[in-house]
Symmetry: C2
């Protein structure tokens, strides 16, 4: 839309770095695979050629970054593990800093991210999108670990409500986080978008201050709202989980809308 482009012209010249959400911006997920969104493979290549700093900023917790990156490379994307900011490594930093030993309620494929973390005699619970691991028994077990602590510590890899897969909508980690929060009367510490510390670590990794960075995402709250609260500009793409009603969101207004990543990159590169 022209409107998006005009609005952006004023401030996009200062941009030195881009943060890209992945699912719903680069590709549409479904079951075990995924399909690139038209123009996105080329858009990533153009960003890299432009000299802009680039960081992939995802809440993905169903796979290690290695596996996740391999899937994206298989779709044709120019992406490496070192360019990805994801909740599990951020959680590992917190666990080490505070000498926390987690009980993990996460997807089997995420467990290797915690390989170097001491998990004996747990003094906190880390919950991710555990998918099939969200069994009655596993939820009770995580609950018992928490309620057995004097001050329960619950770390949640994101706070998403739900997401779509080819076989339908699925409850996301945020729903199970709320269940444990209520049962134990605690507030989870959220790692991942929209946590401020998560965006800040992505910016630090790029070496770009927030006012010179743009976040591009499909999630009005977690991508756009979260990035704006860190002082970044944020664009919402009209792909992935975008819904027209997002444009009437009561609290969050993107700095501009774009139809997709390719259009965002067109406009941004024109301003340079």
């Amino acid at each position: 839309r022209q409107e998006g482009g005009r609005e952006m012209a004023a401030w996009a010249r200062a941009v030195r770095g881009l943060l890209l959400d992945v699912s719903g911006v680069l590709y549409d997920s479904g079951g075990d695979g995924g399909v690139p969104i038209a123009g996105s493979v080329e858009a990533v290549r153009r960003i890299k050629a432009s000299g802009l700093k680039l960081r992939f900023c995802t809440n993905e917790t169903q796979a290690t970054r290695e596996k996740f990156v391999k899937k994206l490379q298989g779709m044709g994307f120019d992406i490496s593990v070192a360019e990805v900011t994801a909740p599990a490594p951020a959680a590992c930093r917190i666990l080490k800093e505070r000498s926390l030993r987690p009980h993990l309620l996460v997807h089997n494929d995420l467990v290797p991210e915690f390989a170097e973390i001491d998990k004996a005699n747990p003094n906190c619970v880390v919950i991710g999108d555990a998918a099939e691991n969200f069994t009655y028994a596993n939820l009770n077990e995580a609950f018992r670990v928490l309620i057995g602590m004097e001050k329960p510590v619950l770390i949640s890899l994101g706070r998403g409500r739900y997401y779509k897969e080819t076989d339908g909508l699925k409850l996301d980690v945020g729903a199970y986080m709320k269940a444990l929060e209520y049962a134990c009367d605690v507030q989870a510490e959220v790692v991942g978008k929209p946590a401020k510390a998560f965006f800040e670590s992505a910016l630090a990794e790029m070496g770009v201050p927030p006012q010179e960075a743009i976040m591009i995402g499909d999630d009005i709250v977690n991508d756009v709202g979260g990035a704006q609260r860190c002082g970044m500009r944020a664009l919402q793409v009209r792909t992935g989980k975008y819904r027209p009603c997002d444009e009437n969101h009561p609290h969050v207004k993107p700095d501009a809308y774009v139809n997709n990543l390719a259009e965002a990159v067109d406009i941004i590169l024109q301003q340079l």
Copy 2:
């Protein structure tokens, strides 16, 4: 404790009816069975002999009232189905009044309570303590039914956080209710304690006004707080899920504490 007795003297003379919580007051549950709390079988008999009206007011949703009552009779209690106020029949009244057709996420043993309810083409979700039925697949299914509605209607049979069984603590219906509330951005309608309408229907069934009724329970929030908000007096027993820290609860203060149901009945019958 004497203190409880003295506090009660002033107002217990007006009492005409008693509401008794069941689990933790009459018996301690565990696995498939349960053990009567010392003196409770005799206490129920004495209440009936005294001419006081009596109603059993439970949030039990893991079995039909028939099965539940049979279990209590097996422990020696003088109790019949007609004396029990429970969430499932209360929910059935609401479903009929509002022409709601439920998708059920409840314990298998509770399903017969909904035998006469039309469940085709559901326009609401009813959630109870489904226990082993709280699977990832069943939770996603209930979520999809809700999120597919223009205005999701979620009816929850209680809002308990957790309870204890012989093999350990278990998440109660309230935790799963919170998960669905968050995912769908709705507020559940709670049937069962501490809902005002639930206590009121128990009082109506006894034909006793709230100021002439006493609730006796082990749960500071659901039994004591709920009954007091209806204008009843409420005693907390020091059995079942009672914990010493309940006596410092920030919002709820029972009208008196008693060590157990037998002591409560001693004191109340002395005032008559």
